[in-house]
């Protein structure tokens, strides 16, 4: 068993040293400010108060702060946008320095030939969307769909998240062409072709075996990413959304898979393929202020389950052709299986609202009670029906409404399954139930070979790595190499 890492607290002397790097105005130990950064929700319930917050404005300042932290053995939690879990990297015990990268918010480069943009960590989805729309209207940045405009495009990418083109282009990490990373020692490395001085980030696999994957999904444990080159995609003028209803998640799964196998054509136009069940509509409102049973929603024309296909095309003809083909697949599916998958005739306003990016659709689930969690998992697409069935059943067993959202990644090769657990954050009992539900389902799902999207440090990471010991052992060795004193977000992935 490895010796437990020991860390030091942030002392006034350390604050003084940090102030020497970033300036007094950009470091604080003010208690109210420290508490103002706390977040418990969206992706995890556990977080703690940092000992100090620092807001570096440049790569040099990031280097300086990390060198001090390494010298002093003080943990550092990097964060930028503060979404997807309050903070993608909430500070956890033993606390230390919270590095708020929001001040580093420059859009550095847009290359419409090699088709990427380069941004700093603090560039938010809303900003990059407006910027590209005005300056490069033919090109779309892959901003996260469903996350509000405060989410950062870099954070979403390095966390291997989900974007408005994930159905076509794969998980967001696949859009990363290169990263500039400051290691705990203060050294800077670049990944992909960027590793060669003077080279553009045009080839993500770099100048040899590429190390980029070590930083994607690392939750701030391997290095602080200070620049990222991310692919941009053609922003096509012809867009629509078509939706199909189903009685159960298996028909949702199977029909979607049939459409998605039409790659190099139909499915390539389906940039975003996402659906879910009827409680998604209900739980956006306070539980005592909205009809609680399916009957009312059925009357509104809402199916028990549904799938939206967002289609982008260069021409009206191409759009019509794609929509027609999806409809043919749906009808053929109905005929062959005898299962109903009717087209949901969307009102133009419903289509417009589904096309809006970035949007706030994932936010209001705290209204149902007083808090919610997305406990998100990746499965092979062909398993998403079973995942949905099990999770919905478990949520009901624990007294939570069975809310499920599912989306296709890369032509439904994989599924991102996001149960929305609407709980009462003011109730200890409710929080305990969430924890039990999470543990029980994690044990079931790991046995089935499914992966948690952003493993929390208390349930997902330990249970996952207990099953993948060799992999974890290697990760620990690599971590030791990159971060000798283990200062970067210790504990987050079971990595000291």
């Amino acid at each position: 068993m490895s010796k437990k890492q020991e860390y030091n607290k942030v002392t006034p002397q350390v604050v003084k040293r940090i102030a020497g790097v970033v300036g007094e105005k950009y470091v604080t130990t003010s208690k109210p400010i420290l508490y103002s950064y706390v977040s418990k929700g969206i992706m995890g319930l556990e977080s703690c108060v940092a000992d100090c917050v620092v807001r570096p404005k440049s790569v040099e300042e990031v280097q300086g702060v990390l060198r001090i932290a390494t010298e002093e053995s003080i943990p550092v939690t990097p964060a930028a946008g503060g979404l997807s879990g309050g903070f993608a990297c909430p500070t956890i015990e033993p606390g230390g320095i919270l590095m708020d990268l929001g001040e580093m918010n420059k859009i550095i480069e847009v290359d419409t030939d090699a088709r990427y943009l380069v941004v700093e960590p603090g560039v938010r989805s809303g900003e990059i969307w407006a910027y590209m729309k005005k300056k490069y209207p033919g090109w779309a940045p892959p901003v996260p769909d469903g996350a509000p405009p405060a989410a950062t495009i870099l954070g979403d990418a390095i966390e291997r998240g989900f974007s408005l083109v994930t159905g076509r282009y794969g998980p967001q990490a696949d859009t990363v062409m290169g990263m500039e990373v400051v290691l705990a020692t203060g050294d800077i490395v670049r990944t992909g072709s960027w590793a060669l001085p003077g080279a553009k980030p045009f080839y993500k696999w770099g100048i040899g075996p590429d190390i980029g994957g070590l930083f994607l999904g690392s939750q701030g444990t391997m290095g602080v990413i200070t620049k990222c080159a991310i692919k941009i995609m053609p922003h096509l003028e012809h867009k629509t959304v078509v939706a199909y209803g189903m009685d159960n998640p298996y028909d949702m799964q199977d029909l979607t898979l049939e459409v998605s196998k039409y790659e190099m054509g139909i499915a390539d136009h389906c940039v975003m393929v996402q659906g879910g069940n009827w409680p998604l509509v209900m739980t956006r409102w306070p539980k005592e202020r909205v009809p609680n049973g399916y009957e009312a929603y059925e009357k509104m024309g809402i199916s028990k389950w549904w799938m939206n296909f967002e289609v982008w095309a260069w021409t009206k003809e191409e759009l019509d052709f794609t929509v027609k083909k999806i409809d043919e697949v749906a009808k053929s599916y109905e005929e062959r299986t005898g299962h109903k998958t009717p087209q949901w005739k969307l009102h133009p306003k419903q289509i417009a609202s589904r096309l809006l990016k970035p949007n706030k659709i994932a936010i209001p689930y705290a209204l149902w009670d007083a808090g919610f969690l997305f406990i998100t998992w990746y499965t092979p697409w062909k398993d998403c029906g079973e995942f949905s069935e099990i999770y919905c059943q478990k949520m009901e067993e624990y007294g939570f409404p069975p809310v499920m959202w599912v989306a296709s990644i890369d032509h439904a090769r994989e599924a991102i399954c996001m149960p929305i657990v609407c709980y009462d954050a003011t109730s200890k009992e409710s929080i305990e139930k969430v924890t039990k539900l999470n543990r029980e389902t994690t044990e079931i799902f790991l046995d089935k070979g499914w992966l948690n999207y952003r493993p929390d440090p208390f349930v997902h990471a330990p249970l996952t790595f207990a099953k993948a010991r060799e992999y974890h052992s290697l990760l620990r060795k690599i971590k030791k190499l990159l971060d000798p004193k283990g200062i970067l977000h210790p504990g987050r992935l079971g990595l000291p």
Binding site: T28, S30, K31, P32, I33, Y35, S36, Y37, V38, S39, G41, I42, V49, V53, R55, G81, G82, L83, G86, F87, D100, G102, E103, S125, G126, E127, W129, A130, Y131, K133, K134, P148, P149, A150, V281, M282, R284, W285, P286, R289, V290, P291, L356, K357, P358, N359, K360, I363, P364, A366, L367, A370, G371, F372, D424, A425, T426
Partner: protein, 426 residues
């Protein structure tokens, strides 16, 4: 702490999504007015004056909500260092307008301020001065002026009429500092044939006290005003802050519905225009833009929404009704401007529920003038981007702070009070 505890469920709804930082947080595709002085007025923009100015999370709304949660959980106590975080905020309510979880953020901030004062912390220097002045029965106003001079501007024949149906609540700022607005309102009401009166015993509405956490003194003036105005069918206002306080705060503080109808004079005139009872024929040759005062626009708009949803058991179907009612509210001042011949009306980018604040609300103008002015400058720049010659508004505080901002910038922009403009053309 009681008011903070009552908001516990709302406070715990905050998931720290930070949409509250922005204007148009749900409209990333919104068409704007392009680039002006290096700033892009398109899509989603910053909407929080305090967060923009100071940067730390505690100065943005969500940070304050999490401070409130830490206080409720007993992890954080009120301290002197907290004062700036709680009070350097104009309580403009942009954050509340953006919140998909419907957190009453202005109420949370005001409850935090009230709890801060209740904890024994001293009121901030300027706010204490306001409190002492309002609490003095020889004054009842924040300006240290004599109560006997309150209606000195007013035509004597309109004072304390027993047979009037309507009372004109003048407010302290129009009574003592911007008398032109009071006089213009009086003349408008005269021209429109309203049977109204002005009450010489009128006291401060309580707004500056509620905004700065000094609720017990606010309760005293609220009680006094309720007794004075109870006999009337309708009370009209020329001050956005007084109107907001009567409409939104009085029912909360007294625990009952107002016994009279309240209308801002802008709203009164707008309704007459809609009904075809007021036709404006005199021209006003100017290109103008409209600044939505937070107290008159967003705060009342949100209350309209809350009132509709409070009576609904199906928010899924009634939210649209609430949204429509809010939109109708924001149209009212615009309807007045558009009814004036030759007046060329242009909109700024951030308007209505997403309007950028002038910077003077929430006790900021008195205690933190530098924040007030910086915020005003941003609004004036946005107005300049439209090519307007004047910013029209209808709030004495917006009028004052935008005028101060214009002076500091050396801008040619004029700042006009809607009621004064209206008085000239009817």
């Amino acid at each position: 702490m009681e008011s903070l505890k009552n908001l516990q469920k709302e406070i715990y709804r905050c998931i720290h999504c930070k949409a509250c930082r922005f204007a148009y947080s749900g409209e990333p595709d919104r068409q704007g007015i392009g680039e002006y002085q290096g700033r892009l007025y398109e899509g989603t923009l910053t909407g929080c004056p305090s967060g923009k100015e100071y940067g730390w999370e505690a100065y943005w709304n969500a940070g304050k909500v999490w401070i409130a949660r830490a206080i409720l959980e007993g992890n954080l106590r009120f301290s002197d260092e907290m004062a700036d975080m709680l009070f350097k905020c104009p309580t403009c309510g942009n954050c509340e307008a953006q919140c998909e979880n419907k957190i009453s953020t202005v109420d949370v901030i005001e409850a935090l301020r009230a709890a801060y004062i209740e904890s024994g912390a001293p009121a901030l220097a300027k706010h204490a001065g306001i409190r002492d002045s309002v609490n003095d029965p020889t004054m009842w106003n924040p300006y240290k002026e004599k109560q006997s001079d309150r209606t000195a501007w007013c035509d004597g024949k309109r004072k304390n009429l027993k047979n009037a149906d309507v009372a004109f609540f003048v407010g302290c700022t129009a009574s003592y500092r911007q008398k032109g607005i009071a006089k213009a309102t009086q003349e408008i009401l005269d021209k429109l044939g309203v049977n109204y009166t002005v009450i010489t015993d009128e006291a401060c509405c309580g707004s500056p006290l509620i905004r700065t956490g000094q609720v017990p003194i606010a309760k005293k003036v609220i009680e006094k005003n309720m007794k004075l105005f109870k006999p009337f069918k309708q009370v009209l206002f020329c001050c956005a802050g007084c109107y907001r306080t009567f409409r939104v705060d009085y029912p909360k503080v007294t625990g009952s519905k107002l016994p009279f109808e309240v209308k801002h004079t802008m709203e009164f005139a707008s309704d007459l225009i809609t009904e075809g009872k007021l036709k404006i024929s005199k021209p006003f040759n100017m290109k103008v833009t409209w600044h939505d005062p937070c107290h008159l626009g967003r705060h009342v708009g949100k209350q309209i929404e809350k009132d509709i949803l409070a009576g609904s058991n199906n928010w899924l179907s009634d939210q649209r009704k609430a949204d429509q009612a809010k939109q109708e509210w924001y149209e009212k001042p615009r309807r007045v401007l558009k009814a004036i011949p030759n007046l060329q009306f242009v909109e700024m980018y951030r308007i209505k529920e997403d309007a950028w604040c002038c910077g003077s609300g929430g006790g900021v103008k008195s205690q933190y003038p530098e924040l007030a002015i910086e915020t005003a400058k941003e609004r004036i720049t946005e107005a300049q981007a439209t090519g307007a010659q004047a910013i029209v508004t209808s709030c004495p505080f917006c009028y004052l702070n935008l005028s101060d901002g214009v002076k500091q910038m050396g801008s040619n922009m004029q700042v006009l009070e809607l009621l004064e403009v209206l008085n000239k053309v009817i």
